[in-house]
Amino acid sequence: MTDPPEPIRPPDLAQVGRDDRSRRPFPAGLAASLPIVMGYLPIAFSFGVAATRSGFSGIEAFALSLIVYAGASQFLALVLLASGAPVLVTAFTLIAMNLRHVLYGPTLMRQAGAAAATRHAWAWAWGLTDEVFGQALGELARGRRFSEPYMFGLGLGAYASWLAGTAAGALAGGGALEAWPAVSAGLGFMLPALFLALLLSMLGRRQVPVIAVAGAVTVAGTLALSAAGGILLGMLAGAVAGMVRR
């Protein structure tokens, strides 16, 4: 018989009471998206600039962000399409890069609990990017209750910022942030800072082996294969470490 599954971290009851009672779910989700918004804007802006520099129109750049909504693979799409790669090769490369997203939904819903509603998941789960998944999981790990309106707020803030950043970048062209290197650098550090803060929020003694294995394999996989390969391998290796360590 196996041990009961370990929650990521016991809920902080003081935080639960303070946040769940004082804020409505949708606005709370929007508010929680702020660090993601700050991180997405400069990246999406860079994407808009890169797309127009690669010869695509502003509308085409916006369409990629609207329809694909996956940062790294959008940049790769520009390179592949501009180099004349076949459509199917390009599409399957992009699809392979985002395969890791398959794990996000079950992981999130496992933490949300069996009674969590998924009636509108067909809509809000579209926004389940790396950062939105991390932020939502961090909230649940700190004892907050899962709600679909919260997920809508969190996802909508992030998605809107991605689209707005793309449009602004496509309209502005290159050089808009070059006059402000410190601002550009600070915004560029927003996503690593967010991931580190999320990691700290769910850190416990039993997660240390999982985190160590995931980190080490990500480094090795990135150096040996590619960034996307490192992410997928790191995630799987960490999860396997968590499975076999008991």
């Binding site: 599409a91 699809i95 985002n98 794990l103 600070g186 690593p192 999982v210 960490g238 968590g242």
Partner: protein
């Protein structure tokens, strides 16, 4: 609009939606209850966040101290702010602020 770009976008976008939404709609986590898959999913969260942090910070690492210093101050600011406030948002903003301020100070 470029037809090839539209075709790539639609194929990749449809796959992204399927990867993100279908496992939630199907409640794939329930299939895993009590078994090895549940332990796997339980560990996937911390593993995913750790992986994404490493992947995000890796390109910023450099042997050049001047380029590395903003990463160090930003990281320390996240650690210090989270230790004091236990707030993910505040820690994130503090890290970005410290990183940007260090870049500005270094000129």
């Amino acid at each position: 609009m470029n037809a090839e770009l539209l075709a790539v976008a639609l194929l990749a976008g449809a796959a992204n939606w399927a990867f993100r939404a279908l496992p939630v709609i199907a409640r794939a986590d329930r299939l895993a209850a009590g078994g090895w898959l549940e332990r796997f999913l339980s560990a996937t969260g911390p593993a995913a966040i750790a992986t994404l942090f490493v992947a995000a910070i890796l390109p910023a690492l450099s042997a050049d101290v001047v380029r590395l210093l903003p990463v160090i101050t930003g990281t320390l600011a996240v650690l210090g702010s989270f230790y004091r406030s236990r707030s993910v948002a505040l820690a994130t903003l503090a890290g970005a602020l410290a990183h940007g301020a260090t870049v500005w100070a270094l000129g």
